[in-house]
Subunit: 451 residues, 2 copies
């Protein structure tokens, strides 16, 4: 297979775009250097264990800013700076969810308020739970059946998609809209089944948003907790009681962190980046500590191997991806103000798992050119160039016409641990993480050489 | 990319081998059934937690035999039977390895005797350690420098290969031959650096063999332990003391477990299998509990979806793959005696990780035909048909001219945990395991329909 596809594409590549034997030699150098001497894994351990989770607006996040700036200097960046950006400050505080069945006894459920949700100001809010299994089912409910109730959206993350991001996209609207939908029909708060591919009791947080004036709370429970609650609701009335202190606490000045090695030929820019912030549970290891250390590894490898980069290679550690995307928006704004020319930008924000491909969001000819390099990537297990999305932080650049991309790692494990207390360093495999860094370095090497 | 390769191969396939739209519909049914209703994960939990590790010749192994027979019946096999086979009985017993530096203090090292190794009969055996970093270095040592010494083979598992099986193959001779090489120059026992892709203190066992008459012990230590020992040896004399009780304890009657659904058109056989035995540490979860439950899943899925299989689909749970391959050899022998016609045989023994391809060991035309089905597999992340090995248990069939194959899962994590106490159920991801079962079912569906 490799030989058949490889030969065909190699020929196509050689004929059309000047892909050379030299490139495959450089690809091997990159891979060997990173698999043997890569620092991404030990640096991820440092970030996750010594700083830990780092929600935008927190002190931990500002520590991570200093950490990233130092790591970029250590990696050999010519220039390192902080880009100022105002970010929302959301705080969780204490929170609890209890249920009471016909037995009259209150039981605590493991839960997490959704990010950006308002809480109950430390007061108990309670009501009878009604369950719906889908948006369609909820839409049919008359308001009088919802009024003063707690709505439990028990929508199942689809297991059927081979790429789990499709299951996540399918279920995401429950997380983002449950609170406002519930408020519109007079409900008191919303409970959602977590956007989780696992069948455990681990709740997943993540961003929600309000579409109306009435800001009622929304919380998530794990899949097995959701199943148990659904089972109870088959036979009896169940009351829920929420007490939470979360909410928006204004804004603060924060920073994205940027480091670069200056182009030898011109000052046009190739970006590789991830987001430095994380949710306020777990350690933000796969999401997106992995992307940060992989992006820094690219810069380190360019320096270590002595590549004479034609264009500026810039690493961006974006602020506030999780609950506002203010870092990505500000980056685009400043790029425009400064009339910077961005050649290409790639993000790594889908976990530090074995890479399988690169998603390409750009015009047909540029996609075609990158796809013509496929035979160079195949020996590294990179075969999938079909997707057309790119990272959230890159949309402002994309909207300015910059070709954008995202690393596509294996997705099977990501939504077991995404936005949870389980997203820890121990869940990251060293070789998988380093292979991702290698793929990023290889694609940037090719862009730098050919664009 | 997908589109380009897909279209080309689809056309080739349609023209040459009659691959149809119906096949892609059936592929989707298989994947959806297994991802939603697959039992492999819960059955693996049962096997690993209620039986645990199960070395050939142990009581636990015989429990696993009964377990597998029952699971095959539950999955819907028409016929289930045990195939008798004599297997070696190797037992570990108590074991310890200590070292003493110039400080005069003895320190225990975490270690495992290699499988099949003789021990010290419960007596202390000690001597000065000499270290070599490679076979070439060892070959140059004159016997008088080895006599009465302990030889420490500190050969590093290569990180440079993208497919870790290549690193494993490269390092394997140190495990298999260290004892006999040491004995030949008069050494007392051998210590090897584990065949491990991780940098931790976890020792990896695995089969060794004796090539001479003198059977001295061989033990493994983890990578970080090996690094520490190497560091000590830079500056001082280090003495090692081994006390172990392992050794061969004759043979016993054991069993491979076989279940099948009879062919509707003829009695020719398609085999899917793994090995039921494991090493005597950890839980044998990836190696090869995963392969056993995946193989049973294939049979269950054929029954559940009501496929009218043309040929007999046979699941074989081989005995004694780890330290003798007696199950595989016996299976081939009986197949020959009974003049059974085997169309195709595939093994799954490389861990329950996300599948990426199928390795094909067969004549050119059959390989080409299977490769022409690539576009059917691509939506399931299966793109790699380049490898040409097949599973250890299938070599007797291969030698009889049967086309053999092996599932190729992602290999990045396997050699972190292979043959160790860390090979536990918790290291297996449900979706990854189920996707492997789906790939196996899909290839067997195609073989059954086309051969």
């Amino acid at each position: 297979m490799k030989k058949i596809i490889g030969t065909a594409l190699l020929l196509a590549g050689l004929m059309t775009y000047g892909q050379t034997k030299e490139d495959s030699v450089q690809f091997a150098k990159i891979s060997t250097e990173i698999l043997n001497n890569g620092k991404a894994y030990t640096e991820l351990k440092d970030l996750t264990k010594n700083i830990g989770h780092r929600l935008s607006g927190s002190e931990a996040y500002e520590k991570a800013v200093q950490w990233a700036a130092q790591k970029l200097r250590d990696a050999g960046a010519d220039k390192v700076w902080l880009q100022e950006v105002m970010v929302p400050v959301w705080e969780r505080g204490k929170e609890s969810l209890q249920i009471k069945t016909s037995s009259g006894k209150w039981t605590s459920l493991k839960m997490l308020s959704l990010g950006n949700s308002e809480g109950t100001d430390g007061k108990d809010v309670s009501g009878e739970i009604i369950m719906v299994r889908s948006m369609e089912e909820y839409d049919k409910l008359p308001p009088e059946q919802v009024k003063d109730k707690i709505v439990f959206f028990n929508y199942h993350f689809s297991q059927s998609y081979v790429e789990t991001f499709r299951g996540y996209s399918d279920a995401a609207k429950y997380r983002t809209t449950a609170a406002s939908l519930t408020a519109k029909k007079g409900g008191k708060f919303a409970i959602i089944r977590s956007l989780s591919s696992a069948f455990d009791n681990v709740p997943h947080t993540g961003a929600m948003r309000y579409s109306g004036d009435q800001k009622i709370p929304a919380v998530a429970i794990g899949s097995s907790t959701a199943d148990e609650l659904a089972e109870l609701l088959q036979s009896q009335k169940v009351t829920a009681k929420l007490n939470s202190n979360c909410g928006m606490k204004g804004e603060r000045l924060s920073h994205s962190v940027i480091g670069e090695i200056t182009g030898k030929k011109d000052k046009s820019i190739i970006v590789v980046g991830g987001h430095l912030d994380s949710w306020d549970v777990g350690e933000g290891a796969h999401d997106d500590g992995a992307g940060i250390v992989q992006s820094i590894e690219v810069l380190r490898t360019f320096k270590k191997l002595g590549f004479q980069n034609n264009h500026t290679i810039r690493v961006v550690c974006f602020a506030n991806e999780e609950n506002g995307v203010k870092g990505g928006i500000q980056y685009g704004k400043i790029a425009k103000e400064n009339s910077e020319k961005h050649l290409f930008a790639i993000e790594t924000d889908a976990g530090g798992f074995t890479p399988r491909g690169i998603s390409l969001e750009m015009d047909h000819n540029k996609r075609k050119q990158i796809q013509s390099w496929a035979s160079l990537f195949l020996p590294y297990g990179i075969y999938d160039f079909k997707n057309t999305y790119s990272g959230t932080d890159l949309y402002p650049l994309h909207d300015m016409g910059v070709p954008t991309a995202e690393l596509v790692p294996d997705s099977q494990r990501y939504f077991d641990i995404h936005h949870t207390e389980e997203d820890t360093f121990e869940k990251v495999n060293r070789r998988e993480l380093l292979l991702g860094a290698s793929t990023l370095t290889q694609i940037i090497y090719m862009i730098d050489r050919n664009w």
